[in-house]
């Protein structure tokens, strides 16, 4: 027979903390970023057109990857139909060009038009859960393709050359395309960064970690997702439009190919989903692999696919996820510092879903 034992409830430790938005490493990173952009801007003066052409493709994929990352990594929307907006972006530029609009001016208009298309698409798919959502986006992309190829005025199944490109020298045109693409990439990444720092970004992160919890504290989840979906449509549309500037011969099959989605997804997975730095790293790795395996066509996708699968299962946070415990370049999180302590230990509270435990520094 045992008597009652007295038990005192432990009091929770509530540390007094100071909250900041960035660390010193971020400052260095911003300086480096400005330098990198300046160097890239200078590139057409010093390198061959073949190199700037590769860089153009790099930036286009970078934009696409960042958009897909925004969709899947922050809004939880896994779309395998973003090629719809990419293709629409290309074809809108073509359509405007056929009516006499300079494709360089047609590009931003096309991007906006894709935003509207995104709105319509959202109306169709917003109620669907993950798997259905993915398939529905794919179906919609295929429908866009099937509709476009019925129009011989747009080149039908074989494609056509975009008219009304500005009458500059080939070298200057290449450089112009390069600068425009670089500019759009910077805007896209910068825009995403600012977006995630804003309140919307906080809502998205909360939703990403726990949707029910987020709703219960009043987060406008659907509104946030709608916004992200439309932004991604605009971004992918812009990328498609840029592709036309780089490759004026527009064909429906390559424009709406599911390959684009494959590339986006792989780049983001490998680089690190749910982080801003991830798509950048992923695109770099992607292109490095492409250069290395360029002679081997299909092997390139096979290896990439296997790597992506491996990372999805065994290293779901990607390359950047592994590295980012040490280094944070784009500060969208919050750092907690104990009061009165010097550098002390900081808790980073931003993580990819499911691994949202705080880590001691």
């Amino acid at each position: 027979m045992t008597g009652a034992t007295a038990v005192k409830t432990r009091e929770a430790d509530v540390p007094a903390v100071r909250v900041t938005r960035s660390r010193r490493s971020v400052l260095w990173a911003s300086v480096v970023a400005v330098i990198v952009i300046a160097v890239l801007a200078y590139a057409p003066y010093v390198v061959y057109a073949s190199t700037t052409s590769i860089l153009v493709n790099f930036f286009i994929l970078l934009i696409l990857a960042s958009m897909w990352n925004l969709l899947a990594g922050y809004a939880g929307l896994v779309s395998v139909g973003q090629q719809a907006f990419f293709g629409l972006g290309s074809y809108f530029v073509l359509i405007f060009a056929l009516r006499g609009v300079n494709p360089f001016f047609g590009m931003p208009i096309a991007a906006v038009a894709c935003g509207l298309a995104g709105l319509v698409t959202w109306w169709l798919v917003s109620r669907l859960r993950s798997g259905y959502f993915a398939i529905a986006t794919w179906v919609i992309a295929s429908v866009c393709y099937l509709i476009i190829i019925r129009y011989p005025s747009l080149g039908g199944g074989t494609g056509m050359l975009t008219p009304n490109m500005p009458n500059f020298s080939a070298r200057y045109l290449d450089a112009l395309v390069y600068w425009v693409t670089l500019g759009v990439a910077v805007i896209a990444l910068g825009g995403i960064y600012l977006l995630l720092r804003s309140r919307l970004g906080l809502v998205l992160t909360a939703v990403r970690d726990d949707e029910t919890g987020a709703r219960s504290v009043g987060a406008r989840v659907t509104r946030a997702r709608l916004l992200v979906f439309v932004i991604a449509a605009v971004g992918c549309g812009a990328a498609g439009a840029l592709e036309v500037l780089a490759q004026p011969y527009v064909q429906p099959a390559p424009a709406f190919a599911v390959q684009w989605t494959a590339e986006m997804i792989f780049a983001v997975l490998i680089g690190g989903i749910g982080t801003i730095e991830g798509p950048i790293i992923g695109t770099i790795v992607f292109f490095a692999l492409q250069q290395w395996l360029s002679a081997h066509g299909t092997w390139y996708f096979i290896i990439l696919g296997l790597v992506a699968i491996g990372i999805a299962i065994w290293a779901p946070r990607g390359i950047w996820g592994v590295v980012s415990d040490r280094l944070k370049l784009f500060p969208v999180g919050y750092w907690l510092w104990p009061r009165g302590g010097g550098s002390g230990s900081a808790l980073s509270v931003l993580r990819w879903p499911g691994r949202s435990r705080a880590s001691g520094g």
Binding site: V78, V80, G131, Y132, V139, G305, I313
Partner: protein, 291 residues
């Protein structure tokens, strides 16, 4: 009255779609796995059948007898390794892994078989047909595929409803933890379900190979995986009988669409799918069961 013939053709085409969708329905119903590589797996089976024929010189039609069991074993292994590992990570991961698998498979097929179209040769069976009246023409192959689809789907439904193993599969699909508490190793049961699903995929793939020519990317850009999903959704989830109806509905709509214009065949089906998604997302069978 050629539209009667169109409907008949559509029904038979629907049989093929239903066969495709069967495995997908099973994988999703039991494991909640969305297999984006489904179409590609069918094409692998088709290529496999071509390979078997090349190796053994057996008649094309008999290659099915080898392809199906081999694929069933492969399905069990893939489930216990790759799919289970992805499931442990979450829904997003399975989606991404099957997508990655799709890309890998298509490119691997292209690497080893080239991009040329192929067919599984079965001789005269591919084109022989008989007529009903003057308007309706029924191909023997088409009829066999339809009969096979009905047999497989109804047989599977019967198996799930009345056999001990089928009951276990349904239990694990309902609540895998509770099934564990009853002594069932759900990973093994998932494996069995995957084996069955892959077996039906092999059947569908070899049938497809006999039916028409195929190439490495038939699975995705040939829309096979989309058709399979559409059949499942249109028919209603959780019902194999529904999958049969959904496949037939899709086939009929496509066939009628094909009469309107040659490129309209596929679009007609996609539009039906989108309409069902918007207006009647629970599908044909779900609509009747709605209570």
């Amino acid at each position: 009255m050629t539209w009667v013939n169109d409907i008949v053709q559509g029904v038979m085409l629907g049989g093929l779609y239903a066969l495709f969708a069967c495995g997908l329905s099973l994988l999703f119903g039991v494991m909640k796995v969305i297999n984006l590589a489904h179409g590609d797996l069918a094409i692998v089976a088709a290529y496999g059948a071509v390979g078997i024929v090349a190796l053994t010189h057996m008649p094309g039609a008999w290659s099915v007898l080898l392809a199906v069991p081999i694929f069933a074993v492969v399905g069990y292994l893939v489930q216990r390794t790759l799919i289970q590992a992805s499931l442990n990570r979450g829904v997003l991961t399975t989606l991404l892994v099957t997508f990655g698998l799709s890309v890998v498979i298509e490119n691997a097929l292209q690497q080893f078989w080239s991009a040329n179209a192929r067919t599984l040769q079965i001789g005269a069976l591919a084109t022989d047909h008989f007529n009903i009246g003057s308007q309706i023409s029924i191909g023997y192959l088409d009829l066999v595929i339809l009969i096979a689809a009905v047999a497989v789907l109804l047989g599977l439904q019967y198996y799930l409803s009345y056999s001990k193993q089928g009951r276990l599969i349904r239990a694990v699909a309902d609540d895998r933890e509770a099934a564990q508490l009853c002594g069932a190793d759900y990973r093994h049961i998932f494996g069995i379900a995957a084996a069955i699903a892959f077996g039906t995929v092999a059947l569908a793939g070899t049938a497809y190979g006999m039916y028409t020519s195929f190439y490495p990317s038939s699975g995705s850009s040939g829309f096979l995986v989309l058709f399979a999903f559409e059949a499942v959704v249109i028919g209603g989830l959780g019902s194999l009988w529904g999958t049969l109806l959904g496949g037939i509905a899709l086939g009929v709509v496509q066939s009628i669409g094909g009469q309107i214009g040659s490129t309209d065949q596929v679009i007609a089906g996609q539009l039906l799918f989108l309409v069902v998604l918007a207006a009647m997302p629970q599908g044909i069978t779900g609509f009747r069961r709605a209570a």
